[in-house]
């Protein structure tokens, strides 16, 4: 369920947050590239939850431990703190109830890693401001009527949600269009303007 058009530029950033041999649940594991990366480089005990049955079957055929399921409905079956890390990469904006999903991630994992496209990026703002139309970019290729991305947020919106849920931001990274990290010392407003992707490491 990689629901934007980009390669998952956040994968390496996410992978770098996870120490070797961790127990990891990847929610929205897509074609399994993150799980495979983590298994090959970090020897993690990795599991996946993926909406598309085809994606699941391909993952299992490649030897990954993945089940078909929906982040909105199936997270409730996992026990508290069953994983060291729960990853939600490029999927939050496609969930029906992002707040509940984030709450569940924080319950299931000792840490949650969430990455999402930043709707506060200047290109998005420009498109709406100048053209007066919902932005369609290379990274967000859908039109408003057929997009699976029903709950976009900006980096600042997400920080607010974390506060509401009592989650501590342990680390946050903004990535530019090339997947390069934007300088660490920049203030939120700067990230919110220039970050195309954001990756958060959270705990509660």
């Amino acid at each position: 369920m990689s629901v934007n058009g980009s390669q998952r530029v956040d994968l390496e950033v996410v992978a770098n947050l996870i120490p070797p041999r961790s127990r990891v649940l990847d929610v929205g594991s897509g074609d399994g590239s993150l799980l495979e990366l983590l298994q090959d480089t970090k020897q993690v005990d990795g599991r996946g939850l993926e909406l598309s049955q085809r994606g699941v079957n391909e993952c299992v055929a490649r030897g990954l431990s993945v089940i078909q399921g929906d982040a909105d409905t199936d997270l409730e079956f996992y026990p508290d703190k069953g994983f060291d890390f729960v990853v939600l990469s490029q999927t939050l904006q496609a969930t029906r109830n992002p707040k509940l999903v984030l709450d569940e991630l924080l319950r299931i994992g000792n840490r949650a890693i969430v990455s999402f496209p930043n709707f506060g990026h200047w290109r998005v703002r420009l498109s709406l401001f100048v053209k007066g139309r919902m932005p369609v970019t290379k990274d967000l290729p859908y039109s408003w009527y057929d997009t699976p991305n029903i709950h976009f947020c900006t980096i600042r919106d997400f920080v607010n949600l974390c506060e509401e849920l009592g989650a501590t931001v342990e680390k946050a990274t903004a990535l530019d269009a090339n997947g390069q990290k934007i300088g660490l010392s920049m203030p939120w407003w700067f990230w919110n303007f220039f970050g195309q992707q954001a990756v958060f490491l959270l705990r509660r």
């Binding site: 699941v56 079957n57 299992v60 055929a61 030897g63 990954l64 431990s65 078909q68 079956f77």
Partner: protein
């Protein structure tokens, strides 16, 4: 033509052509019915070689009317083994790499102790004198067979349908002895509808006057008509409406028009009659009663206070479940509830639903996606177990 083959079934019962392990009075089988079965025997087949570490053993559990002849020509029917598409040298389950064991379940009729077996106390077939056998009893017996080979931990236990129930029971009863488990097209319990279908089958057998209260061998008869009807009804549940329509439609059997009679006008009727007739040649009617009952009684959650997750608490077994979209006997929801229980137990689990119109029987057929899933799962489990390719 049918007669000599029927006789052959009988010779397979007490002295099967496959290897057989006999347990004397010192090693009784404890049954859920509350009694001990002794003496008893298990007929089995093996393929490939057990490695020095005894870590490459795969146990295959057969379905309702299956047997131990999973990957060799069946001695009764002369047909290929029932899972030869999957198991053999160079196949997905490669017998040049793995040591594959398959045994006839207790209550069966191809060499393991069942209702057709001679009761040593009377010198006559057990008939209904055999206590009702459960899935757990079958697994308990298989465990004694696995002990016989000196195998502490099976690399994988797999099976479909009733075989899948045994896989789940194995993983629940002996988690430390199952490295990976592959239950296919199965459920953690038999649904009301499934029990209903089985009851129709049993009533058909018992309504046949030749059944004689289960003592048909003593009367030199067999309830062939009843058993055939039971098989015909069951066979419908193994297929799907779409597949039946695709294969047979409303096509007529060797005729141009309806006959306005009750002969097999339609191809589907002829097909089912054939299925029924060939089945009675190879299967014992009482055994059919026992096999269906064992599935009806299966309810893994009920054995654990109603909470299925508790059946797998603390498990380290790697699971892969498979269901088929058109299987209405064990619909995907049955597998999904097992997956949720395994998630709750923190287990490692994969779950694949395969799109096919071939119904429940799809697990026995050449289904590329099924094979890809099994291949991926077995491959990664083998790496985790340190088995060389």
């Amino acid at each position: 033509m049918a007669a000599p083959r029927a006789a052959r079934t009988n010779t397979e019962v007490d002295n099967p052509s496959s290897p057989v392990l006999r347990f004397g009075p010192d090693k009784p089988l404890k049954l859920d019915a509350g009694t001990l079965l002794s003496p008893f025997q298990i007929a089995y087949q093996t393929y490939g070689t057990l490695n020095d570490a005894r870590s490459n053993a795969i146990l295959v559990c057969h379905a309702l009317t299956g047997d131990q002849h999973v990957a060799n020509t069946n001695p009764v029917t002369g047909k290929p083994g029932w899972w030869e598409v999957l198991i053999g040298p160079g196949k997905i389950i490669d017998t040049s790499r793995f040591f594959v064991i398959c045994s006839n379940v207790i209550g069966g009729c191809l060499g393991s102790t069942g209702p057709a077996s001679t009761n040593p106390a009377t010198g006559k077939p057990y008939g209904l004198g055999l206590p009702v056998i459960t899935i757990r009893d079958m697994v308990r017996a298989q465990q004694m067979l696995v002990d016989h080979f000196g195998i502490e931990k099976l690399f994988c236990v797999l099976g479909g349908s009733m075989g899948g129930m045994q896989v789940l029971q194995w993983a629940s009863s002996y988690p430390e002895r199952v490295f990976s488990a592959l239950p296919i097209a199965t459920g953690a319990r038999h649904s009301s509808q499934n029990i209903a279908f089985h009851e129709v089958g049993r009533q058909a057998v018992m309504a046949d006057p030749d059944w004689n209260g289960g003592k048909y061998f003593e009367h030199g008869k067999r309830p062939e008509k009843g058993l055939a009807v039971a098989r015909m009804a069951a066979h419908i549940t193994y297929l799907s409406e779409a597949a039946l329509h695709r294969k047979f439609g409303r096509n007529l059997q060797d005729r141009e028009a309806l006959t306005f009679g009750f002969d097999a006008d339609f191809q589907i009727e002829s097909y089912l009659r054939h299925q029924g007739m060939t089945f009675v040649d190879r299967f014992d009617a009482n055994s059919y009663l026992y096999m269906t009952r064992s599935m009806d009684y299966f309810d893994l959650a009920a054995d654990h206070g109603g909470r299925l997750a508790d059946a797998f608490a603390g498990t380290r077994t790697r699971f892969c479940l498979v269901s088929f979209t058109s299987d209405w006997l064990f619909p995907t929801e049955e597998s999904r509830s097992i997956v949720h229980a395994l998630n709750a137990a923190g287990a490692s689990v994969s779950f694949v639903e395969i799109e096919t119109d071939r119904g429940h029987d799809a697990f026995l057929l050449d289904e590329p996606e099924l094979f890809a899933a099994i291949n991926g799962f077995i491959g990664s489990a083998a790496r985790a177990r340190g088995l060389s390719a």
